[in-house]
């Protein structure tokens, strides 16, 4: 299946999750961390998945972006039932359609910023020089174009997060998944990163999911899904009272 052509179905939900459940084995015991989740993620929105530690939010987005198999249920990303794809097709689907921003950035320390940002393109087979050029354009947009030739360790935490954002967007994915993007940043840096993310990551044909429990940035969300004990307890524009 050609997974690079996904995404011409903007009228559909970006992600459609139906009956998602996930169990984990803990010794002799089976623990269910997600219970019958039904939800849709829409393109053009910045959707937060919020909850306490252990609420199941990381498990939910892992399943939604095709890196963790659900025990039950189905997930359609831009109309493709991703868990019906073969392993190789699923990996290619992720490579062509999903951008990831990790809490710890997970940049490769021994290659420069431009090459780090270009990793998805290089993985797609784009020649390195061309991939770096395309990455530099994005780095310029993120105001760190002048850092392109530096190693990640020479950058501040906020700058490294911007490199991670560039890496997530360089191949123009239809879905961007962020895991605690502000957790390692101070308040002002976190705010700036989120403003930037909204500016570059949110588009009419692109969905952006952010897992966070950083209440300093809740006001920037278009939609907030609250998880408690593996169940969605709130789905709205703002955080419910009491949180």
């Amino acid at each position: 299946m050609d997974t690079s052509t996904i995404g011409n179905r903007a009228s559909e939900a970006a992600i459609c999750a139906r009956g998602i459940a996930r169990d984990f084995e803990a010794g002799q015991t089976t623990i269910r961390v997600l219970h019958e989740i039904d939800t849709e993620i829409r393109a053009g929105e910045m959707t937060y998945v919020v909850g306490e530690s252990g609420s199941g939010k990381t498990t939910l987005i892992s399943i939604m972006c095709g890196i963790l198999w659900p025990t039950e249920g189905e997930v359609k990303v831009f109309g493709t039932d991703i868990y019906k794809l073969s392993d190789t097709e699923l990996v290619n689907f992720r490579l062509n359609n999903i951008g990831f921003i990790f809490q710890q950035y997970n940049l490769i320390p021994s290659i420069d910023v431009a090459s780090n940002a270009a990793v998805p393109l290089i993985a797609q087979g784009v020649p390195r020089a061309e991939a770096r050029e395309r990455a530099k354009v994005l780095l310029d947009k993120l105001n760190i174009g002048n850092q392109a030739d530096k190693l990640p360790r020479q950058l501040s935490g906020g700058q490294q997060q911007r490199v991670a954002i560039a890496r997530a967007l360089v191949h123009e994915p239809r879905l961007v998944v962020c895991d605690e993007p502000t957790a390692a940043l101070d308040a002002s840096s976190g705010r700036r990163v989120m403003d930037l993310l909204r500016e570059v990551a949110v588009a009419p044909d692109r969905a952006c999911i952010i897992v966070t429990h950083d209440n300093r940035i809740f006001d920037l969300a278009d939609r907030i899904i609250v998880l408690e004990d593996g169940r969605i307890t709130h789905d709205g524009k703002e955080m419910p009272d009491g949180h």
Binding site: I67, V91, R94, F102, I108, S110, I111, I122, A123
Partner: protein, 378 residues
């Protein structure tokens, strides 16, 4: 992606150099020890190589090597000469004796008596002097290793006098000979002089050296000599191999060197395995991220393969270069005289390096392949 793999490897200088050291040291140990082993056991055949004209060696049936021989009666020479296919046959005596230098030092030496007329049995090349010096009375030619043993401080051993079994001997030439297995000093003299220098029993003829007639093969002539004389006859190659086999069968050298080579292999696995595992473990988050982004396991295996291959290639080259430098560096030492690296040994070390990297790489990569892409979110 392979470029990224190489940069990941070289970017961690400590582990990169650790891996190079592990492979390099292992290669050096394996290559150098096998080289010394091969050269050392080949010296079991030095007596044969030092008499290059002889195509067939004839001896008493119980004789085994040039140094383990049983003397034959002098009539054996005539019996050999009468065999069809024998172009020439000359007597060859090998014995041991004690010499006393003018400083009073005592040293056990090997005495080689070569044909009086043709001097067949002498090493091919002379380091100093001419082969014809042996025609002078009381004349001996010493091998070049012997000069460093008996006359370490002298500029030249030429003209030095020795007391050889109570008889006077004068060194008039120095041969460029392959040292014996035990690096014993060897004195070459004419057969008739050797009989005087070395008192012995009725039978003194150690070997008959034979050249074969044109159109004859050494194998056929050797078989004919055995059939017609009842003596043992071996071609040059067979007798050289017998000398090598004798060393292998009767000394602990193969075991000792084998243990060292094995240890080199184990050290390689230990250092490389540990360092490679640590390297991959340190980069597990990056590999996890790559897997999440969409890099296939096959590509990850290729990346690790390239890393292992690069470390292996550079480390192996360093190890082989180290061995060459070692052999070159010690080439003036008599013990290492004539040492060379047979082409098979670098190939064996290369195979060992490939096995080391395959074992350690497979063990190390398991952790990467078992890493769930989802782990990057934890």
């Amino acid at each position: 992606m392979l470029w990224i793999a190489i940069r990941m490897l070289t970017g961690d200088a400590q582990k990169f150099y650790g891996l190079l050291f592990g492979i390099g040291f292992s290669t050096l140990l394996i290559t150098q020890q096998m080289t010394i082993f091969v050269n050392l056991v080949e010296r079991g055949a030095s007596g044969v190589y030092n008499a290059p004209e002889a195509e067939v060696w004839v001896m008493d049936p119980v004789s085994r090597t040039t140094d383990v021989s049983y003397a034959m009666p002098g009539t054996a020479l005539d019996r050999v000469r009468s065999v069809p296919g024998v172009e020439w046959a000359v007597p060859h005596l090998r014995a041991v004796a004690n010499v006393r230098t003018k400083d009073g030092d005592l040293e056990g030496v090997g005495i080689v008596g070569v044909d009086d007329a043709t001097l067949i049995g002498l090493p091919e090349r002379m380091a100093m002097g001419d082969k014809s010096v042996l025609f002078a009375p009381d004349s001996v030619v010493i091998d070049d290793v012997g000069t460093t043993r008996l006359f370490p401080d002298a500029d030249s051993a030429l003209g030095e006098r020795l007391e050889l079994n109570d008889q006077r001997a004068v060194i008039r030439g120095i041969s460029d000979a392959i040292p014996s297995f035990t690096s014993t000093v060897v004195l070459y003299t004419r057969y008739s002089s050797a009989l005087n220098f070395v008192p012995g029993t009725r039978n003194r003829l150690s070997f008959v050296l034979v050249g074969v007639s044109e159109g004859q093969t050494p194998e056929a002539v050797a078989a004919r000599i055995e059939a017609e004389t009842g003596l043992k006859a071996e071609t040059r190659e067979e007798f050289a191999q017998a000398g090598v086999n004798f060393i292998i069968e009767n000394t602990g050298i193969p075991t000792n060197f084998g243990i060292t080579v094995f240890l080199g292999f184990v050290v390689g696995i230990a250092i490389v395995g540990l360092t490679f595992s640590l390297f991959l473990r340190d980069n597990i988050k990056q590999f996890g991220a790559l897997k999440a982004i969409g890099v296939t396991n096959a590509k990850i295996v290729q990346m690790v393969g390239v890393q292992a291959g690069m470390v292996g290639l550079i480390g192996y080259a360093l190890g082989v270069i180290g061995t060459v430098a070692f052999i070159k560096g010690f080439s003036t030492n008599p013990f290492f005289k004539g040492f060379y690296i047979p082409w098979q040994i670098p190939l064996i070390s290369l195979a060992a390096v490939v096995v080391i990297l395959a074992i350690t790489g497979l063990i190390a990569i398991r952790s990467v392949l078992n890493t769930e892409p989802a782990s990057v979110f934890r």
